[in-house]
């Protein structure tokens, strides 16, 4: 059994498991940590798919930056515990599960029709990566995708502005009491 299969069959269940744990555990912090693990597994998948650059970015940006941000906010607001046990919306979970399964099934049909479960990716991916994946990516990014790239810059500016406008409100800061109430 070739190596990549082994890796896949190790990490794919792990990924699914961590995902499920992420939505099932009660503590928000734990959920965040499970999510981090899940991102790691996905990063591994990138490696399997010959995308080492994204592997790195995934670990740095997602597992590193984004999730830390999440944890930071969770801690800041101190909303670790789910505010009330159980679900207050009737039938929400059940429906959610059903719909999730349905979506998986439907997508599976589509994938089967579109790709076929057995087809393997053609060899020779290195050919499209002259000089290594990052530089190849760079070339594509800055030749074909330079315009979207610039748009992303706008997007980040907007995000910055948004954060500024939303966060730097000159409204009263949180009092200790509010935080207590939140707990």
């Amino acid at each position: 059994m070739p190596l990549d299969n082994v890796v896949f069959w190790v990490f794919a269940p792990l990924s699914v498991a961590t995902g499920l744990c992420m939505i099932m555990v009660r503590s928000a912090v734990h959920a965040a940590l499970f999510l981090v693990v899940n991102f790691f597994t996905i990063a591994v998948m990138y490696l399997l798919l010959d995308a080492p650059f994204l592997f790195a970015v995934q670990i740095i940006v997602y597992a590193g930056a984004i999730m830390v941000l999440f944890l930071f906010v969770i801690m800041l607001l101190g909303v670790d515990q789910a505010s009330a046990p159980g679900d207050r919306l009737v039938g929400q979970r059940m429906t959610a599960v059903i719909l999730g399964v349905a979506i998986v099934a439907e997508l599976a049909t589509a994938i089967r029709a579109g790709v076929g479960f057995a087809t393997r990716a053609p060899e020779g991916f290195d050919a499209v990566n002259p000089g290594g994946n990052p530089s190849a990516l760079a070339e594509v990014l800055f030749r074909d995708y330079f315009f979207p790239f610039e748009v992303t810059s706008i997007l980040l500016i907007v995000a910055a502005v948004a954060a500024m406008v939303l966060a730097l409100r000159r409204s009263k800061a949180l009092t200790q009491r509010e935080i207590e109430a939140a707990r």
Binding site: L89, Q92, T95, L99, A102, I103, A105, E106, T109, A110
Partner: protein, 589 residues
């Protein structure tokens, strides 16, 4: 009115000057309706029949107008009253002079309208208003029959013109017996409604709520005779189908008997006279039904005189006694109102049919001819009717004018202005028979021949002399019965008759409950049903509409349930939608 009478007289003389063959003139006036194949002209037709009717309408009409001037002297709105009267005469003339069934229909409905307006003239009296409405609607029922008859007629002939429908003199219209029967029966329906014959007679007695001149003119002399006129006018069609003709006879006979009996039971003079009118009209129908059209017309003429007379005299009584009209509260009037008493007597004599007065030459002539033609049933029953007529008219006279006075105060005699026309009418009533029957040139039958054809007498049954004798006996018998029952001597007996014979008197008084029966049908069945339908409309039909609206609003009311403000619910519906679309894709692939 008088002017129109003069004109009519002129027309008559001119007509008499013409030879019999061409005594039919058609005066084209204008075209009325023209649509598709239908074309209706406003032509007038002047022929012996129509001119006779015209004479009656204008003549009697003028006299009654004269009378009314006196009678209505203290009415607030005389102008309105005489306006209606003249309008009526105009429509009536249109009716009789029409050369076209649709124009006839115009007049027909027109006189109906005027009778409505005049019956309800004192609209503040609820019974007057009700009677007016009843008269209009009841006759309208007959009119529908007439209208349908016109439709059939039009479908067959494609025209309403007399010449087309009835054929020019002699020539018969080509038409299947069935169609003819249909047409004539429908026309008969109209005639029955207008002439208050069974079963559409119920409006006539109530119609007496109107002013007495109206009763005299419209509900005795002219309008009610329109039915007879229609039948006679359309006799060609009736003759083509024996069914229709015999139907006319039967209706007439039934009316004659029923009216007579009902009349006996009335204490209200005018109601009694109204029923008597009905019975007299019955005789006219009988005559027409047996084919003696000229006799029908001559009875019509005579009746116009003496019935108008009788009504007006009773009008005198009302006028003199502040509208007291119940014979139980009258009596002995001959002292206070000798003129009126005499005039009433004259009218009664004419009606009762004692020779040599007009009733004899007209009504009994019908019976006589019937027997000659061997129509025994008609003769026997008719004679019975004659007996009853004599009975009730004599009764009225005895009860009202003989005996002791049963009223307070003094009944003042009518003014000369009101008496004068009555005298004329009386003379007319008494002598019309002789004049119309014997004067060589004026003999109505011959005069009418161009239009109505000649009556060939049969010679079945007993001889004329015996018949005359019988009829005189019958009449006297009638008077005798009346005297026996109502003579002053046993006044208290007949006054207390209702107590002793409640059932019978009620049956007679209510004319055998036919009116009550109708009332029950209309009230219990008709109005209930209508109310039910109205409820159905409100609840079901409209309810459905509003229900849809309510349903929509109710559904909308569910919004808060779904749109709960809970973002996860929103996400749920979002995901469901996405799943649904993906399902579509999955199926479609």
């Amino acid at each position: 009115m008088a002017a129109s009478f003069v004109v009519a007289l002129g027309a008559l003389l001119q007509l008499l000057s013409l030879p019999a063959e061409e005594r039919t003139q058609i005066v084209a006036v204008a075209e009325w309706i023209r649509a598709g194949a239908a074309s209706v002209s406003l032509d007038l037709r002047v022929d012996p029949l129509s001119i006779t009717m015209t004479m009656v309408v204008t003549g009697v009409g003028s006299l009654i107008h004269l009378y009314a001037i006196g009678y209505m002297d203290h009415d607030p709105r005389p102008s309105r009253f005489f306006g209606y009267m003249n309008l009526f005469c105009a429509f009536m003339l249109a009716l009789v002079l029409a050369n076209d069934f649709l124009l006839l229909y115009l007049g027909w409905e027109g006189v109906g309208l005027c009778s409505y307006l005049l019956i309800g003239f004192w609209s503040d009296r609820p019974e007057a208003a009700r009677a007016a409405k009843k008269a209009f609607i009841t006759t309208r029922i007959g009119d529908v029959g007439l209208m349908l008859g016109l439709f059939v007629m039009f479908m067959h002939f494609g025209s309403f013109d007399f010449d087309t429908v009835l054929g020019r003199e002699g020539s018969l219209p080509e038409i299947a017996t069935g169609t003819a029967t249909a047409i004539s029966l429908l026309l008969l329906g109209g005639a029955v409604g207008k002439s208050a014959q069974l079963p559409l007679h119920v409006w006539l007695p109530d119609a007496m709520a109107g002013p007495t001149p109206v009763s005299a003119l419209i509900h005795a002399a002219t309008m009610v005779t329109a039915g007879v006129y229609l039948v006679v006018r359309a006799h060609v069609l009736f003759e083509i189908s024996e069914v229709a003709l015999s139907a006319v006879a039967v209706v007439g006979l039934a009316g004659a008997l029923y009216g007579g009996l009902a009349s006996i039971g009335q204490y209200d003079m005018k109601r009694a006279l109204a029923y008597s009118t009905m019975s007299q009209l019955g005789f006219m129908f009988l005559a027409a039904g047996l084919g003696f059209y000229p006799l029908a017309i001559s009875l019509l003429v005579a009746h116009a005189f003496y019935k108008a007379l009788l009504f007006l005299t009773s009008g005198n009584v009302m006028h003199g006694l502040h509208d007291e009209i119940d014979v139980r509260h009258l009596g002995g009037l001959r002292r206070d109102m000798p003129w009126t008493a005499a005039l009433f007597a004259a009218g009664a004599l004419s009606l009762s049919g004692l020779p040599p007065f007009s009733g004899f030459f007209t009504k009994d002539a019908i019976l006589e001819l019937a027997s000659h033609d061997g129509v025994v049933w008609a003769y026997v029953l008719g004679s019975l009717g004659a007996l009853i007529s004599a009975w009730y008219i004599a009764r009225l006279f005895f009860q009202a004018f003989m005996g002791e006075r049963r009223y307070e105060g003094h009944a003042h005699e009518a003014s000369s202005l009101m008496r004068a026309p009555l005298v004329v009418l009386a003379v007319g009533g008494l002598l019309a028979g002789i004049v119309l029957a014997f004067t060589p040139e004026g003999r109505l039958a011959t005069f009418l021949e161009p239009t109505l054809g000649h009556i060939e007498e049969g010679n079945a049954g007993p001889s004329t002399a015996t018949l005359i004798a019988i009829s005189v006996v019958v009449t006297l018998a009638g008077v005798g019965i009346a005297w026996r029952l109502y003579r002053p001597a046993n006044e208290e007996r007949w006054v207390s008759f209702p107590e002793r014979e409640p059932g019978m008197s009620a049956a007679l008084g209510n004319a055998f409950y036919i009116d009550a029966l109708y009332g029950w049908i209309v009230g219990a069945v008709g109005l209930r049903g209508a109310a039910g339908l109205a409820r159905f409309d409100r609840t079901v039909v409209d309810g459905a509409v509003n229900g849809v609206g309510r349903l929509a609003t109710w559904t909308a009311g569910l919004a808060p349930v779904w749109q709960s403000g809970k973002v996860r619910r929103y996400a749920l519906s979002f995901l469901a939608g996405g799943a649904a679309l993906l399902l579509y894709a999955a199926v479609r692939i």
